[in-house]
């Protein structure tokens, strides 16, 4: 898989630069925050929370053609105790909402939520008595993915956005800074 590792801060001005990364012998100096963020962002284990048709696209994302394993997220866990990110895939009914909240509470910190699809994000076409109008009424959502359903590449884009958010997370701050967009990152 081509370069998916981000630069960690290296310290030695005299060493030659190879491919934009300075090699500094065997010693690598980096802020703990940055190392932890890298580790967290590149091994996001999702929790299977397929509620409706979006789950089919979520399964397709893990399969060979799109292969979410390239981003370290192939290990879909059926237990919240081992998961980092909850992908709410499908319409969330009011009867399911307490269950979702309980499973979210059982996930260990740090935890993130991707709201996948129109129904999970806002209720979509189901503006009625049975469907929660947006999963963010129940759990805090980090990334919203529009689409009905979002294609696997759209979900992979959302996972990349979430990784971007995790990488720019600052420790010891109550308010998280808004992360830069992916376009600015690559520019």
């Amino acid at each position: 898989m081509p370069k998916r590792i981000e630069t960690v801060v290296f310290h030695d001005s005299s060493t030659p630069v190879i491919g934009g990364i300075e090699k500094a012998g065997v010693v690598v100096v980096a802020p703990l925050e940055s190392i932890l963020n890298q580790a967290r962002a590149n091994a996001l284990w999702p929790l299977t929370f397929g509620l409706a048709c979006c789950a089919i696209e979520m399964m397709s994302t893990v399969a060979a053609r799109f292969d979410l394993a390239r981003f370290g997220s192939e290990a879909f866990r059926a237990t919240p105790r081992q998961a980092d990110v909850m992908i709410i895939a499908g319409r969330l009914s009011k009867k399911m909402a307490p269950v979702l909240r309980q499973i979210y509470d059982q996930m260990p910190e740090p935890k993130w939520v991707i709201s996948m699809g129109a129904c999970a994000s806002s209720g979509g076409v189901y503006n009625n008595y049975a469907i929660v109008q947006g999963a963010d009424q129940v759990v805090p959502v980090d990334v919203y993915v529009p689409g009905c359903p979002p294609s696997p590449d759209a979900l992979i884009y959302a996972v990349m956005k979430l990784q971007q958010k995790i990488k720019h997370r600052k420790f010891g701050k109550l308010i998280e800074l808004k992360p830069r967009s992916l376009d600015e990152e690559s520019a």
Binding site: A64, R65, A118, S122, V143, Y144, P146, I156
Partner: protein, 152 residues
């Protein structure tokens, strides 16, 4: 090992592994995986994703603010507010133009009914699928975001 055991057990297993082995050597040449951020798959011709409000070649907006798209929308995610064109301030060829045109991208199910309902072909669904974002407020797409830039 009797002939029956070979015929019923070993032969099917060997045939199956033979297909697996054949696929391994085929995949060395062409992997099934699309390396998404670096390379993109070709979208189908009728793929419907992000909306665009188009213009005529003269630079005038196609949208005439008739709200037929809002009426056709099953998710009720489109809001149109029309205003009158005047000779000094002419936005579209018709009598009226859309002063406000907003789409709630989180509600939208990308069914394309708005595109079908539009009498002037103003709203079209293009193939840009990278719409994810962090905040709920970022998903109200205003007319400025939807409108195509004027081509030279």
């Amino acid at each position: 090992m009797s002939f029956e055991v070979f015929r019923d057990v070993a032969k099917p297993i060997l045939t199956g592994f033979g297909i697996t082995a054949k696929r391994i050597f085929q995949m060395r040449e062409k992997s099934a995986t699309i390396q998404y951020p670096e390379e993109r798959r070709e979208q189908f011709t009728r793929t419907r994703w992000r909306h665009v409000l188009t213009r005529y070649d003269s630079g005038l907006e196609r949208c005439i603010g008739c709200s037929l798209c809002a009426g056709a929308c099953p998710a009720r995610c489109i809001f149109v507010e029309a205003a009158e064109n005047t000779d000094e301030d002419r936005r579209s060829p018709g009598e009226r133009y859309a002063a406000r045109y907003e789409i709630n991208m989180l509600r939208c199910i990308f069914c394309g009914y708005c595109q079908e309902a539009c009498p002037t072909g103003a709203i079209v669904l293009r193939k840009d699928f990278e719409l994810s974002n962090y905040e709920r407020e970022d998903f109200i797409y205003t007319k400025e975001m939807l409108l195509e830039p004027i081509r030279d």
